[in-house]
């Protein structure tokens, strides 16, 4: 493909060719670079620790020259200024849908584009050149503020169906690019009857491996700790037909009830569980109020890291957010190969009000590094779905759709909702408004654009 350098609207309907148009790019005058990272540093005596904050918006500049009739030179300049104004309006007015882009590619490179925020056209004066165009020549310096990253023109669409709503896992492969990709839209649609009200989705980086990662931890695979907790089978509403029931007959106090280690789930491939997770617990009480608390750490640790105490009163199965954990808690370092088989999650519980039992079904590990949760969805089989948008200006929004019509606006909470390059796994959990039903499944469809710092390598 021949090289390209132009301004274009989002649908490529209106374009301004800066390479072969009326105002042409002066040879080798385009100045650009890979994005500038904004990094916060903590200085130490013999070095520093850093934390990435964001990429700065980018300033590209180039020189344009035109040698034509005055009318054509004016038209050429106006076309550029129309594009800059279009970019300004897009960011200024939420009702203006037309974004503007700088498109470019080297010879044999596929086209890439970067979102424009605005720009300036400086009319340069020189010998035989003036803004009054007496000599039918124009020399201009175009400065463009653009998005720090380049992305593809078209979206890549993928999907998966039949995902369980208690930790359904979708492995996503071959995501191109350098920084994480932007997921233009993620749609969640239901595969079974009943309306889903809340959805959690997290995307886990591959780290060491995803092959044996299991986000669903059955509580009965752990250890009952307080003497008044026991595995109870034969409950078809519980995952694996089995749950842990705590009747508080030994003590009602806030003590450890259940523990579970990575080794209880997979003693061989423990390293596949490296990650940062929001822990959901599928649980209920038979009556009253029970206080739950999640703690985490290595099994022999004296002090486990506590999360906040959560009070539950639901008598139907619900997914309760217990807190976040980092596995391993000290991070993962190349200088040694940590093992996770001794990493342990503990559930503490206290009967606060009434005389009901606590029933624990399973724990679900939702990756929380790239994370989103949506409350107030209305996901029903057929034509009701929820779509989560990440627009080109990084603004996120969620909408419920009935057919092709937006229906309602659910609540959206997100953290770094981007798709890692290479291989990753999307983990999903969902529940209805007052109950989590085991048999509910969903289909997830995603359209994403890979991104690069500068040149595309694919």
């Amino acid at each position: 493909m021949a090289n390209r350098f132009r301004l274009a609207d989002v649908l490529q309907v209106t374009t301004v060719d800066l390479r072969d148009g009326t105002l042409k790019l002066v040879d080798r005058s385009w100045q650009t670079s890979s994005p500038t990272p904004d990094i916060d540093y903590v200085d130490l005596p013999y070095g520093a620790q850093s934390k990435f904050s964001h990429f700065e918006r980018h300033l590209d500049a180039c020189s344009l020259h035109g040698f034509d009739t005055v009318a054509n030179l004016i038209a050429g300049a106006n076309a550029i200024e129309d594009a800059l104004e279009g970019a300004r309006l897009f960011h200024d007015d939420p009702l203006n849908p037309t974004s503007w882009w700088l498109e470019a590619n080297a010879d044999t490179e596929s086209v890439r584009r970067s979102l424009l925020y605005g720009g300036v056209l400086n009319y340069v004066t020189g010998v035989g050149i003036s803004p009054l165009l007496e000599c039918e020549q124009m020399l201009a310096r175009l400065s463009m503020y653009r998005h720090p990253l380049w992305e593809t023109i078209s979206f890549t669409s993928i999907s998966d169906s039949g995902l369980s709503t208690i930790g359904g896992m979708w492995t996503i492969n071959n995501v191109l690019g350098v920084p994480p990709a932007r997921m233009g839209v993620v749609e969640v649609e239901k595969g079974t009857a009943g309306s889903l009200y809340r959805v959690w989705m997290g995307i886990r980086d591959e780290y060491i491996s995803l092959t044996n990662f299991n986000p669903l931890w059955e509580c009965e695979d752990g250890t009952n700790e307080s003497g008044d907790c026991a595995d109870v089978g034969g409950d078809a509403t519980a995952s694996n037909n089995t749950k842990v029931v705590c009747d508080f007959s030994v003590t009602e106090a806030h003590v450890i009830r259940m523990s579970i280690t990575v080794a209880d789930i997979d003693a061989v491939n423990d390293i596949d569980f490296v990650g940062r997770y929001l822990i959901l617990c599928r649980c209920k009480v038979t009556a009253g109020t029970v206080a739950l608390q999640l703690k985490s750490g290595y099994s022999d640790t004296a002090a486990f890291a506590p999360n906040e105490i959560i009070y539950i009163t639901n008598t139907d199965w619900r997914l309760i957010e217990l807190g976040e954990v980092l596995m391993p808690p000290e991070g993962y370092w190349a200088s040694y190969a940590p093992r996770l088989d001794n990493f342990e999650l503990q559930i503490f519980a206290e009967r606060v009000v009434g005389a009901g039992n606590l029933e624990l079904d399973c724990l679900i590990l939702i990756p929380s590094r790239h994370y989103v949760d949506v409350v107030g969805t209305d996901i029903v089989t057929g034509n009701h779905e929820t779509r989560i948008f990440t627009h080109e200006n990084e603004e996120m929004a969620a909408l419920n759709f009935s057919g092709s019509n937006p229906d309602t606006s659910p609540e959206l909470s997100d953290r770094d909702w981007y798709l890692p390059v290479g291989t990753s796994a999307l983990i999903i959990a969902a529940e209805r408004e007052t109950i989590q039903v085991l048999g509910d499944t969903v289909t997830v469809r995603m359209s994403y654009v890979p991104r690069w710092y500068s040149y595309r390598d694919a």
Partner: protein, 469 residues
């Protein structure tokens, strides 16, 4: 992309529906959490077009704000006060300036008795914002004048009308929003005094292990023995001595006017404390309820937005064994009273705390003096060995152990914090501008001003350095 999500919902008195995501529009978001009180105050600024700012200004007062980090609610509160500055004129709408349920107390000169007028209220304002009470203290006027003053006050304060607060040189339109935790709403009402534990008394008789008042029914104040006594009885004898005991079972249904007494809170040793009963004649007595019971009644009766979460642990080797009298000599706002009760601690000298947690539930518990966080290299960690610092948005007031403090020993005497490295944090403030600020009881507004000036100075020099590059 920010660590937190900030969302706006309609008033919890309505449907609490999701309105909009404020994460990117709320500039300079900062908020605090207090040990006593829980989610405390927050503020942010909104810039934009006047029509959008005015919509916020006129519609969103009293709305619910929620901060979430990684799926967990880390702060919530109510939009409490909004300042809108347009063309240099600053206008304010504030729930602080609102009272929609007003009465007045006065001295009735006919009989020198303290009387209270009937209440004037605005039902629509109450339905919209919640009941916010005001009690005018007036004297020296006839009743009609006092009632007129009451009505005038209601007319002035029933709604959070926009009030101009200042004029300055015009600049871009700006909206400053203050949000407050729901602990603030616990001070909207005066405590209802509907339970008099000082009783009408008939003939009083001591038993070795019980007490009789033949005009009384003790079934309301009994606790099954053994157990955790919820009431104590204090008796003044005719010789001015004082005898007291924990109340156990009444002798209902046969003799409800008799109640068993115990020397211990666990109701295992029958008898009396204090001056004893041998040779004593009871003159008068009062019954006192446990703090948690009183707190439960106040929250249930006088707190519209907060519900009872957990007011006492059921594990009671010690429990909270202070039993205050439930009589108030003057009208007292509910949070002020509850804070006073919580700060009493318990008989053993342990500190207790009362706070409003996520979901607007009230928690009353003994303050945990075990280090919750560990301070190392200027950041807080969950455990001693953790390498990943905690998000500042998840930090709550607790005891912090400073691992870099070079001295490791105990203080003399019997301090609450036995390790000299431990710091008791009363308030945690987090902001996008300054990050995490931990405040102890000695943190003063002056120090905060110095912090701000230091930050401004660093920002200025950093900016100057940028210009010179």
């Amino acid at each position: 992309m920010s660590e937190y999500s900030l969302r706006l919902f309609s008033s919890l008195l309505g449907d609490g529906a999701f309105i909009t995501d404020l994460s990117k529009t709320a500039l300079g978001w900062r908020r605090s959490i207090r040990l006593q009180g829980g989610y405390w105050q927050g503020m942010f600024t909104v810039l934009g077009k006047i029509d959008k700012l005015q919509q916020f200004f006129y519609e969103y007062l009293g709305y619910h704000v929620q901060e979430k980090v990684g799926g967990l609610v880390t702060w919530e509160g109510m939009v409490y006060e909004i300042d809108l500055e347009v063309n240099g004129v600053k206008r304010r709408r504030s729930l602080d300036l609102t009272s929609n349920h007003i009465s007045a107390t006065y001295i009735n000169h006919l009989n020198d008795a303290v009387s209270t007028t009937t209440t004037a209220m605005d039902d629509q304002s109450i339905a919209r914002y919640g009941r916010k009470e005001e009690l005018l203290i007036l004297d020296g006027f006839p009743l009609q004048a006092i009632e007129a003053r009451r009505d005038t006050a209601l007319a002035e304060l029933a709604w959070p009308w926009s009030r101009a607060v200042g004029i300055r040189a015009p600049r871009i339109p700006v909206l400053n929003v203050s949000v407050c935790g729901y602990a603030f709403t616990m001070n909207w009402r005066y405590t209802t005094q509907d339970t008099e534990l000082d009783t009408e008394q008939g003939n009083l008789t001591y038993g070795a292990t019980d007490f009789q008042d033949d005009a009384q029914d003790f079934t309301d104040w009994e606790t099954a023995a053994p157990g955790d006594a919820e009431y104590i009885i204090g008796v003044v004898n005719d010789d001015d001595t004082y005898t007291w005991a924990y109340l156990g079972d009444s002798h209902a249904p046969g003799n409800p006017d008799i109640v068993d007494t115990y020397t211990d809170q666990g109701l295992t040793v029958a008898g009396w404390n204090g001056a004893g009963v041998g040779g004593k004649t009871p003159l008068t007595y009062a019954v006192y309820g446990k703090i948690s019971l009183w707190l439960n009644d106040i929250i249930t009766n006088d707190c519209e937005f907060v519900t009872v979460g957990r007011l006492a642990t059921h594990v009671i080797p010690v429990g909270n064994s202070i039993y205050p009298a439930r009589t108030l000599s003057m009208p007292t706002r509910s949070w002020d009273l509850m804070l006073e009760l919580a700060e009493m601690g318990n008989i053993a000298g342990d500190p207790w705390r009362l706070y409003v947690d996520t979901g607007r539930i009230a928690i009353y518990e003994q303050t945990n003096l075990t280090p919750r966080y560990y301070l190392r290299k200027g950041a807080l960690y969950d455990t001693v060995g953790d390498k990943m610092a905690m998000s500042p948005w998840k930090i709550k007031p607790a005891v912090v152990r400073d691992l870099r403090y070079p001295v490791r020993r105990s203080e003399a005497g019997s301090p609450l914090l036995t390790d000299i490295r431990d710091i008791w944090i009363d308030e945690v403030e987090v902001s996008t501008a300054r990050g995490l600020v931990l405040k102890t009881g000695l943190y003063s507004p002056l120090e905060q001003l110095i912090d701000v000036q230091e930050w401004q100075k660093r920002s200025y020099y950093a900016h100057e350095a940028t210009l010179m590059e």
